[in-house]
Symmetry: C2
Subunit: 390 residues, 2 copies
């Protein structure tokens, strides 16, 4: 059974301690309900993406549902590390496809600044492999991705300047996105002169710590066709997991779970050549190197040539495939549980051509891809959205 | 599309710090795979129920999938407080019903003794409503349920002795269950003379802190009919949420979410009179009062008369409906994320008549109910299992 996204919503991302977690979630839900033209009573199931750990609330979904008036039709909290938002979307779609409900709501929210930066870095650091990597070697998340960057640069000859071009592009689009945490353009020189966080990654190679929420409402074919003229269909989803330990991976030049999830999604959607089939992609640029590796894992570039897309500016609008037209995690911000749904928000708005001037991609094929990675590739979710009913 | 449970597994519940979380999960998974007669490669999706907070692992699913050899077909962690196990089952069923996969695995595991008892009590206490109840009034979980017990006893005239009879029954069945944490019979006098934890609840009114894991494998009709002669069908599930705040509830004499979830499940399953339609029930007896309230919320007794079922021993085998033939959370143990799946384990084994002598209920209608509550009724999941295909 076909399932469509009929409404999306999100808060402005940034440092926001003025709003409690349920307030952030509510703002995104309200925005999505308005976008879908339905009321909260129409929602039959709620999946809530939240990694937590920074918040005092131990069971956040009930507080969110209570505040947003969604009782008694809640559901569960879902966590797939930084891919939690896509996991919530997957469950919401399954709830509709299985016939459990006609309309389901996926919410993602995070209030990360409740903790200090160092405490957030420690908590996320545990998310590699606690025992073998964090406790034994003291690895943090920038350090995990620094290992990938070093391996990639050594193997293929990419430079720190190539990585910097990802940050420059994403800040460029962030500068035009009123919901982005950073709305300031930067230069390659700004990136290269920023301080090292974990060599070769510098401050501007890293996504920030963010408070924010995003939501998507999905509906069955029957209901979607009644409610909207612009349904955006969830054409395919690929879901995969991989070892937490980096030492258990086959190599550091690729995210195995992302390759697997993309393969699943492309097969289901009948996509042979993604660059020729997609109008744009939102990819998981938690660090600049992650976006370059994503180009290869998703088949936008051949293995070892992803950095050339960055160098040649082929992932700007006008290039072979626009990527992260919302500023990406890098500039839009990365409230971990909300990030996957914020990507869905951007993909849906792009396909509907409702984006601000300057960052609306041309929509010719009517298809967009969302690539959402959890941990260092522990999880990967790849979603294909389409204007054409599957 | 009909979905059947084709295999179940669980560890012996108890205090078990000799096994890490992935080892506990693996033992339950291995048991379930053996029971289903399939191999891990046949599993297409994994939902992992885990509340966590006591463990150092921040993202436990990848570690569990890696250890159990389930990559790359993992999925997500799900949390619905102490109803997480049922939430994982719900998602596994939806993954099959939606056509995402033919065979899905729900796992629940918890290693609660990693923290001290007082730290566990503090963490769970936050699970009421952190801001309004835990931080402001210092309520812990026994205290929440003590409020319900006091209200119930005042309103209906139930005694501490009536509550004690629940503990005695559940220890009686626990004494015959080799997987139970406590395998010792107790008397009403033992309960009444145990120390107060939160008046009127005493030590023996409370479920223990437990390490353990449970798993269930579900399959599509087509696959189930090939793999087993004894499929146990998931006939209906009801899912509901309610305000976290006790002060926001209509009364303290009932768990609103459980009434809602039971209503949904009964409607879907076409059950008018549960006592006449079910062979047995597994209910969420985190405290003795919770089992008595469950009798009323589930329609086994009229409102205000649940304690009479306890007093008259009507929920033993031979009574009007056997309840918690495995010892319940009280005696079998309550590793929170695993508990819902351990109830499914018991219901499936009972329906298949594979239970030890003395605690096998007569199976005449071929239907069992599982009632799994999260928090103080933040969540409720009610599942109807049946030998008859829906």
């Amino acid at each position: 059974m076909a399932v469509a996204v009929i409404g999306v919503g999100m808060t402005k991302f940034g440092r926001d301690l003025e709003h409690q977690l349920p307030e952030l979630a509510f703002k995104a839900v309200e925005d999505a309900l308005r976008d879908a033209g339905i009321s909260r009573e129409d929602v039959g199931f709620v999946a809530f993406a939240n990694v937590g750990g920074w918040s005092s609330e131990f069971f956040p979904l009930p507080i969110v549902c209570e505040y947003a008036g969604l009782n008694p039709k809640g559901g569960m909290r879902v966590e797939a590390a930084c891919a939690s938002g896509s996991a919530a979307l997957a469950i919401a779609c399954m709830a509709v496809e299985s016939g459990y409900t006609d309309i389901a709501l996926a919410i993602g929210a995070e209030r990360m600044n409740e903790l200090s930066t160092s405490a957030v870095v420690e908590l996320l650091g545990r998310g590699g492999n606690f025992f073998w990597e964090f406790e034994t070697f003291g690895l943090t998340f920038p350090a995990y991705y620094a290992l990938l960057a070093k391996a990639y640069m050594d193997e293929y000859g990419a430079s720190e300047g190539d990585l910097a071009k990802i940050a420059v592009k994403n800040h460029y689009y962030g500068s035009m996105n009123p919901k982005a945490q950073f709305q300031k353009r930067i230069t390659v020189e700004d990136v290269l002169s920023s301080r090292y966080v974990a060599w070769p990654l510098k401050l501007y190679d890293c996504s920030p710590i963010t408070d924010g929420a995003a939501a998507a409402i999905v509906a069955s074919e029957k209901v979607a066709s009644k409610l909207t003229d612009t349904p955006v269909w969830v054409k395919a989803q690929g879901i995969a997991t991989a070892p937490a330990n980096l030492t258990m991976r086959n190599d550091l030049l690729s995210i195995e779970s992302a390759v697997e999830a993309a393969g699943q999604a492309y097969r289901k959607a009948g996509i042979d050549d993604p660059v020729k089939s997609l109008d744009l992609a939102l990819v998981h640029d938690c660090f600049t190197i992650a976006e370059i590796i994503a180009y290869e894992d998703l088949g936008f570039a051949r293995k070892g040539e992803g950095y050339l897309l960055a160098r040649e500016e082929q992932t700007y609008i006008g290039g072979i495939i626009p990527v992260n037209t919302d500023g990406g995690l890098k500039a839009k911000g990365h409230p971990v549980g909300a990030s996957g749904l914020a990507m869905i928000y951007e993909a849906v708005k792009q396909l509907r051509q409702e984006i601000e001037r300057g960052r609306q991609a041309p929509i010719r094929r009517g298809q967009a891809l969302v690539h959402n990675v959890g941990g260092t590739g522990h999880f990967a979710y790849v979603t294909i959205l389409s204007l054409e009913k599957p």
